[in-house]
Symmetry: C2
Subunit: 312 residues, 2 copies
Amino acid sequence: VSADALVLGPGREFDLVRGFLARWGELAQGVGGDCAELDVPAGSRLVVSTDTSVEDVHFRRDWLSAREIGYRATAAALSDLAAAAAEPLALLLALTLPRGWRDAAGEIAEGVAEAARLAGAPIVGGDTTAGAALSLTVTVLGTAARPLSRAGARPGDALWLTGTLGGPAAALRAWLAGAAPDPVHRARFARPLPRLAEARWLAGQGATAAVDLSDGLAADARHLAAASRVRLDLDADAVPRLAGVELAEALASGEEYELLLAAPAALDAVAFAMRFGVPITRIGRVAALAAGERPGVHARVDLPGGHDHLSP
Amino acid sequence: VSADALVLGPGREFDLVRGFLARWGELAQGVGGDCAELDVPAGSRLVVSTDTSVEDVHFRRDWLSAREIGYRATAAALSDLAAAAAEPLALLLALTLPRGWRDAAGEIAEGVAEAARLAGAPIVGGDTTAGAALSLTVTVLGTAARPLSRAGARPGDALWLTGTLGGPAAALRAWLAGAAPDPVHRARFARPLPRLAEARWLAGQGATAAVDLSDGLAADARHLAAASRVRLDLDADAVPRLAGVELAEALASGEEYELLLAAPAALDAVAFAMRFGVPITRIGRVAALAAGERPGVHARVDLPGGHDHLSP
C-alpha cells in the first residue's frame, strides 16, 4: 500500500527488525511473533500505558541526537510506570520511520535499549512502518501489588516532589530563541530519568498518590487534586529549581518526568537523597475540601496553565 | 513544543479526549490516569501486541471513511490476539491527529469503539497528539491459559485456513488502477473481522499453532514453518478465494486477518462453519523435516513473496 515516497525495498522491514534484534541482544525477548507472552506474578496487578513522541511536536531533529530521541521516548513512557510505583515488566516499540531517518534507525534503537536496560524492562514486541514523520509509540507494562495513582491522596498527607524543576522549559526557551541551551537544562530535556526505584521505595514508605510531571507541576497538581478530591496547599517558594529558571517557568515546565506525591510528612528526605542521588522536597500539604469547595490547588502565586502538546 | 502548523488550541488535547470518552461510554475504563490497571486471571498468561496504521502507507484517505480507518486499525491489532487464541482484555489507542483530520476525530473514535465492542475489549488508555500524518497505534492485551503461536505445529497436523482470500489484494488493485473496487472485495479490506472466538474454539479442538495473514498466506505460511521447524505441504488449489481473484493474488494478499492454523485433520469444518458463519478449509498438512531439510512451504505453484509494508 506504500506510497512511492515512503517505500524502502523488498524485505526491508524484516531487515530493520533483524538489525534491532542484533543490537538489543538478550534485551529483546520473543519479538517476531504475532503476540508477546508474559506472566504476571500472582497477587500483582498489571499496569499499562502508551506514549507517543512525534518529530516537530515533541522534539525537533536539530535538538536531539537519534539516540537521545529513542532514549527520551522510552524514558517518558516508563515514567508512567514510575507514577504507579510499578515494577517494569516489558515494553513494545511502534516505530514510524521516514526515508530521511533510515540511517539513524540503529541509533534510535540503541537509545530505546538504553532506557529499557536502565529500567530492567525487556523489549517484547513492536511494529516498524514507513511514514512521513518520525514517530515512536512506546507501550509499557508493569506490575504492582497496589499501584499508586492520582487518586488516593488523603488530607494530612504532605506533598513531596522529586528532583529539581525547570530544565526542560529552560532548554526549550533557549532552542526556540535560536540559542544553545545550558547543558544542565538540555540534559533534563534529552535524558530524563524515570523515577522507578524511587517510586517503589516511596510506596513502601506510605505514599498514597503520585503523578509524573509530564504536563508540568501546576497542571499535574490539579490532576492529582481532582482525582483524589482534595485541595492541595502548595508552597510554591519551596519548589526546587535549577539555576537560571524563574519560579513561573518551573511551575509550568512540562515533560519533567519528576514525581509529585502525597506521602507522610515524616518521610526521611535525607535517606531518600542518599539512596537515590536525587533530592525529594516537601512542597505543601493535602487538605480536606470545605463544604461546597471544588478540588484544586492553592498557592500564594498565580499558577500557570498546563502544558498541552496540542497547544502552542 | 508544537510546530505552528500542528497546534490546536489551549486545552484542545483534553477536549478531544473528553469527546472520545463521551462517545465511548462504558467501553472506556480508567482512561485519564498515568496508567491503566488490569487484572490477569490466575492461571492465564498475558499476551500483548502493538500495531500501527499510517495514512498513505496502510490506507489512503479517499479509500476509507474515518470510521472505517478507526475500525480497521483496531481490528488489525485485535487479529494478533486471535492468532494467540487469546481472550481480549483491553486495548490502548495512540492517535496522531493532523489538523486536516480534526473534524473526523469523533468518527475515527467511533470506529475504534465498534471494533473494541465486537471483541469485548474495553479501551483503557492511550495518547492523543498532533502530527503531520494521521497515525493510529493500537496496543492490545489478552489472556490465555495456553496461547497459540507460530511455533507448535506438529508433523501429522493438518493445515487449516479460515475465510476466503483475496479481497484486500483485489480492492487494492482496483484503487491503484483508479477504479472502484468490487464491494465484496472492499469490505474485506475496510472491515476485517478478527477471528477471536473462532481461534479460541479451534484451540479447544486441539489446534497447535496459528498465524494471522497480515503478510499474506504464502509469507505467513513460511513464518509458521520456520517457527515450528516443519515443512508445510500446501495444496494451493484448495485455497478458497473470492470471485474475481486469481490464485497468485489470493496467496499474496496481505492484511487479510484470516487465520492459518495447524490442527487435527479430523476437525469438524461443518460445525465450525455453522457456529461462526465463515468457512474453514483444509489446505494442506504439516510434515517433518527430512535430514538436512530447511523449514519451508512446498506447493505445486510458485509462491509469491510476502507483503512488506516498507516495500512497493
